[in-house]
Symmetry: D2
Subunit: 360 residues, 4 copies
């Protein structure tokens, strides 16, 4: 149940790691938008496995096929169905996990919930299903671009290696120039070394992705349960391996006092309301205030280790498991486009909902 997210701009997804395909339906895409297929595929390519030595070597073209909703290069307002075939499956890699529960994976909980599970590659719980999110995110970005709104995520921290949360002095576009997707080249190299080292140990490591949304108009989000940061938080927490979400000052904000944290309102050169600081992370009272929206997402180390781990199986017998197959030692580089996709979808959805707050 509930493989749908969004209120006006909605994505419904389907697919498992080693089934026939992954895909989805995008409902509520505004009509009349030019669909830049190359851009969409390029966004998918950012998420694709096999991009570098620090990501899984599963190598699939991940070519998306659109089935509806686009006519003569433009969105029609009708739902956009799409899918990506699973082609490079090595289902046999998973034969040894057919009946056992991998530690810290979804095997046990799925089995107990549904009484059945597709064990191959984690089935529905595989990170492969984020492909659908990237497709929908790319479409959302096409609309946001037209509205002057940009969404940029990057790797801020891997293990103990962090570039800190201040991004104003960084050229965020540099994140795409290295395999870790960190805009600080020197740190990116260190992070890459760390990931390789961890991989060599058959181990994994986590980190933090920061996302910055610029150009967002005042007024997105709603007062009560649909506060903009609550919707962003839910969207981020729904990404595989995410353990935490914070915006603005986040958890560190508990150390300072109110007088140190409030964002003082002032006027810019054109006499428009602005804030002297942006500790609120661009959202006040659950509604965007026109400043950059800034949030961070914590990813745990991937649960799949190329090492022996004790566990139990469906017959409640103890056993030992060692992963085979192709796995990421660190999920962050490939999660960056997923974070952006979910952010773009959330912002577009709220943008469209906001058009219905007053009668025109």
């Amino acid at each position: 149940m509930s493989n749908t997210i969004g209120t006006i701009f909605k994505l419904t997804t389907f697919g498992e790691s080693h089934g026939n395909a992954v895909g989805g339906v995008i409902d509520g895409m505004p009509s009349g938008i030019e669909i830049d297929m190359e851009f969409i595929q390029s966004e998918l390519n950012r998420r694709r496995p096999g991009q570098s030595t620090i990501t899984t070597s599963r190598n699939e073209a991940d070519k998306v096929e659109f089935l509806s909703g686009v006519f003569e290069g433009k969105s029609t307002g009708c739902p956009i169905g799409f899918f990506v075939r699973n082609t490079n499956q090595h289902s046999n890699d998973y034969d040894n996990m057919r009946e056992l529960f991998r530690p810290s994976h979804a095997d046990y909980t799925y089995y107990e919930k549904y009484g059945i599970r597709d064990h191959r590659g984690g089935g529905r719980s595989s990170a492969r299903i984020t492909i659908s999110r990237c497709v929908a995110g790319a479409l959302a970005k096409l609309v946001l671009r037209q509205l002057g709104i940009s969404v940029t995520a990057y790797t801020m921290q891997v293990g103990h290696l962090s570039i800190g949360r201040d991004y104003k002095s960084l050229d965020l576009s540099l994140a795409e120039t290295n395999s870790v997707r960190c805009p600080d080249a020197a740190m990116a190299e260190k992070m890459e070394q760390l990931i390789k080292e961890v991989k060599r140990d058959g181990d994994t490591i986590g980190g933090i992705i920061q996302c910055v949304i610029s150009g967002c108009p005042v007024g997105l989000g709603s007062p009560e349960f649909d506060k903009l940061h609550a919707l962003l938080g839910r969207a981020m927490l729904s990404i595989n391996a995410v353990k935490g979400f914070e915006y603005g000052e986040g958890f560190e904000g508990v150390f300072a006092r109110g007088s140190e944290q409030n964002d003082i309102f002032t006027l810019d050169e054109e006499g428009r309301v602005t804030t002297k600081t942006n500790r609120s992370g661009g959202i006040q009272g659950g509604i965007s205030n026109g400043q950059d929206i800034v949030f961070r997402v914590a990813f745990k180390p991937v649960a799949t280790l190329l090492r022996n781990q004790e566990t139990v199986d469906i017959h409640h017998e103890k056993t030992v498991f060692k992963a085979q197959g192709r796995h990421d030692p660190c999920v962050l580089p490939r999660a960056v486009p997923v974070v952006e996709a979910m952010a773009a979808m959330t912002i577009l959805d709220e943008y469209l909902r906001n058009q219905a707050v007053k009668v025109k």
Copy 2:
């Protein structure tokens, strides 16, 4: 828009700080549950202002009146309407903020979004509207109690004062014995001192609430967008002043490696599947695994300071604002029951949804 949360067990709220009343409608309350009115009122009393010297002196009985859905002491399965009158309003306290935007409050964003706002006491953005959540949470708790599920939140940190996240050695029930709602008596006293000190300065301070859900069966939550932690996160992030949410190891999990974080499956004395550790925080793949569900919520320092602050008004003129009225220097003690309420509602909702996953 969207003052409703939940799929089966749903709460819709209404009300502003200084309007006639706050209240809501609970839809999907299971039928046949005994409604313990004293318990419900006692839950409201935990949230009530004026409980101690470290909370606002606004003093209201907050007596809830139920309007429907209960017959001869039991829930009928029909919606439960309820409200609490606003009685102790000092609307005049807010005359000076009629046209200005308080720093880090929702004044500016509401005004821009809706073109109009009820400025008195923050209107809809006031923490007073969490009353409705406590009522619905109390009803949810009545059901969960019957199912053997308990939900306990407490103040874990205020400013730099923290008791750490390990709760196994604590008697969590002690949290209700002091005004800060921290189960460690010695630390509670320090926290209370800190809050008083901050209050004396006309300043405010934030902190972290931890919540533990015990007795939750395996199988709550869904794979994709309705992962249990995503729903809990959204519920928590929708509480006033919340800036972050994490579960299990959360943000700190980025420092350790996968081999240090995985929860190894084993069998308990009765041969049931369990985990040796609970770094996952009771949720794997978005679905509860039967272990304690553990999460933390970060609250910023309240934005209302009893000090002069620069700001601007609706005419885009610069001005100075000093709050009057009665305010909390630290939101945590009164937020504890709100965190519990949102958690209880989320768990019950997913419990009920889970009953529809297979045909009986």
Copy 3:
């Protein structure tokens, strides 16, 4: 479950016939609308019992109290909570039905579904709960009025007495000048006589209400499941005692051929697209085409008879039931404002949704 209707403009209701109150929450009311309280109360008065000799003599002022969402006479965009106290309850009238199932009422199905029921006056299944719909409908009408959209329903048929579906030659406003709410004065009198006759027999009678929505812009409704007539139909079918819904030519359209039914497009004097006829009832492909939206709603004879009827009770014993209390012999006169209310809400909801179809 599911006491909510609407996507953007949403109504959630609560209340039973003989509980404390009936009421609801309106979420998504556009901000900045002047709230004409007198108009709202006047709409409620149209639904009120005791208006004439052909309606129930239960006599209640049905005075609505608003609890939120309105500030200085205007909607704020925040949810509007409201309720109407139940004051003139004669709960004792229902003592004899505490344990039995009234024929063709909801007693049996509620009892089986929930295992408990509030038997007094039908509880949640009472037509009294349509009060909440009238309040929300009145608010919707305030917005539609501003947009030049009018919603008018009237009694078209009672028993075999019908004025036919052609309304172009009628002055629909005359419907409000008689107790049956039929715009044809002569027929209204006959209908009134028929209802009195039926009442004298302790019997009841049904009929058909027609509704005309004028001034509706082109483009409301959606292609697939949210076709405008599907949403209108669902809204109408949710009204107590409704057994059928049709729009345009409806059921009679099955007798004619396509060549006799198609609405030929042409141009009006200003060169705008219009249709020569309106057999489609203002909706084509599920979307409004700018012509009058016309539909009909069939109401069964009220199930409550002032006569002996055989039945069974909760102990599965046969028994005999004769209704006491105050009842309508014909539901139509008081259902007219309810039909209008549901239509107004549906149209406003789709109007607002349509604002989100393209980016502005």
Copy 4:
């Protein structure tokens, strides 16, 4: 927007008549159900064009491909993605309608709403998109079969030719033995003659489909807006060409008095509650009462005529249109499986929701 229907068992559809494919996602399929692929394809075949001389000669295999949610022959509880390629498109047939609005079609309203439309074969408004409903309906039927619930629809009336609404003496399975899908063989032949005659004239004709649901347990549906007949009505009204919906006595019920219409409760041989008659159509107070659920759906004559019709185009010029291509002179025979599909989906959805009304 809103190409999704259902609360727990949900179908989201996509696709246009002459795009790449039509398909959808089924979310909330109960886990552990054996997926009988042959049955599903056979249901699709019932809807398929080219079955007989009275349906369109567009000839497509309509072979469905499943992409997810089924593992080793059983449903996993994960979403089921599927599609059917459009293969036999004659897009050129529609070149002459690229810029004009066909009378009583969705061309004009789509164009005005979205500012763009896929004109080929009606695009999204084509009856071809009901394929997705048949797939989802077939899956729902697999579950209902297991629960002892059957759903049977048939052609009751074409033009003036009707077999009446009483079905007790009919063998409904005979409907599948003739091309009109009417269980009365003699009448079926007359209907077929009528349709051929109409076709010869380049004209079209409508009719009424009746649907009977047997074996439905007591308790499906909800009191207020989700009354079972309101949900069925909405589902039926969302099918192309439908102009009306009624259940039980429907529109004819307005002629009789309450004393003639009430269903008297009695006890069956096993002492269970039953009704002497079933004028309510199996639903009382919006909730199923265990009797057969019976409703009727009115279909208009198809709007596409093989004759000249006046109309206008997007430049607001008058023109003349004569349809080319392959069209049904009467939609009913192929609509029968669609009615069943929507009914099956609605019943299953409510069955699953009903499992969440009480805690187990």
